[in-house]
Symmetry: none
Subunit: 83 residues, 4 copies
Amino acid sequence: MADGEVGGNAAAVLKGYVERVDRLMEERKGINDDIKDIIAEAKANGFNGPAVRRAVRMYRMEKEKRDEMIAIDDTYLAALGLI
Amino acid sequence: MADGEVGGNAAAVLKGYVERVDRLMEERKGINDDIKDIIAEAKANGFNGPAVRRAVRMYRMEKEKRDEMIAIDDTYLAALGLI
Amino acid sequence: MADGEVGGNAAAVLKGYVERVDRLMEERKGINDDIKDIIAEAKANGFNGPAVRRAVRMYRMEKEKRDEMIAIDDTYLAALGLI
Amino acid sequence: MADGEVGGNAAAVLKGYVERVDRLMEERKGINDDIKDIIAEAKANGFNGPAVRRAVRMYRMEKEKRDEMIAIDDTYLAALGLI
DNA sequence: ACGTTTGCGCTTTAGC
DNA sequence: GCTAAAGCGCAAACGT
């Protein structure tokens, strides 16, 4: 299975990894549910759900996107007539 | 924007939602990194990374679904003469 | 396997689907190689490979992105101070 | 931009590359749609869509790799007591 | 050559 | 239930 560890307990070692990942994925699922709840709450208060999601996306992407724009050689975009 | 809340502070309310979601997404990102680390650790100990991920997937599946999936895959592969 | 078709030839039917998809994936692989070649050619002519890829991306995304911007309620973005 | 080519027409050269890649990506998109259609057709005839995709992946794999994957998955699942 | 990082394709989930 | 989008996993591509 793996050269892993002493004593031929590779199965137990594998199980350890799997259980740790499983636990993290459970946590992640909880977070996803929390996000869902917040969106639902926003909707209940009169906001548009999908629009809120997009707004979050923009909010998080702002810096990233700006970096991306900077990363791209302006010269290239100018050559393509995109700016 | 929304009929939301007293005082015409809908903008502030929206911002609250967005920031809460943002924070949760940041947490989720951290968890994903943790998972990645565990897989890397498993790999370093002689396990096959992608196979460990597949194993986790099966582990998290309900027994019924898991058995069903194994059965259908066997059938299809046999039909193709691959096993 | 499937209720598929007359004569209990479900295996043959499945094989047909698989082979058709296989062929398309082979085609796709060829296209990916072609793209790779063009980037390599650009590099050989003094252009920066990753930057060219990003430029392509921008080139293709221009319209799409504009639509996305329109789709997002300006009011929301304004509330977040993003515009 | 690049030392590229005679006459300082580097912009035109770049645009050539970008348009060629763009065209290939458009083709690729078409192929992806075709694949999707075939899977949908299989599904409509009683096959399990995701399972068909998995079967295609195995089909395209070299025999050696395929056998190896089946073996390692079996081992891991057994180690976890899932089979 | 290897490790890191980006991009692509698939899967799953949310919205209608 | 179907269509559309986002998240996740994988693989290729760049830099060291």
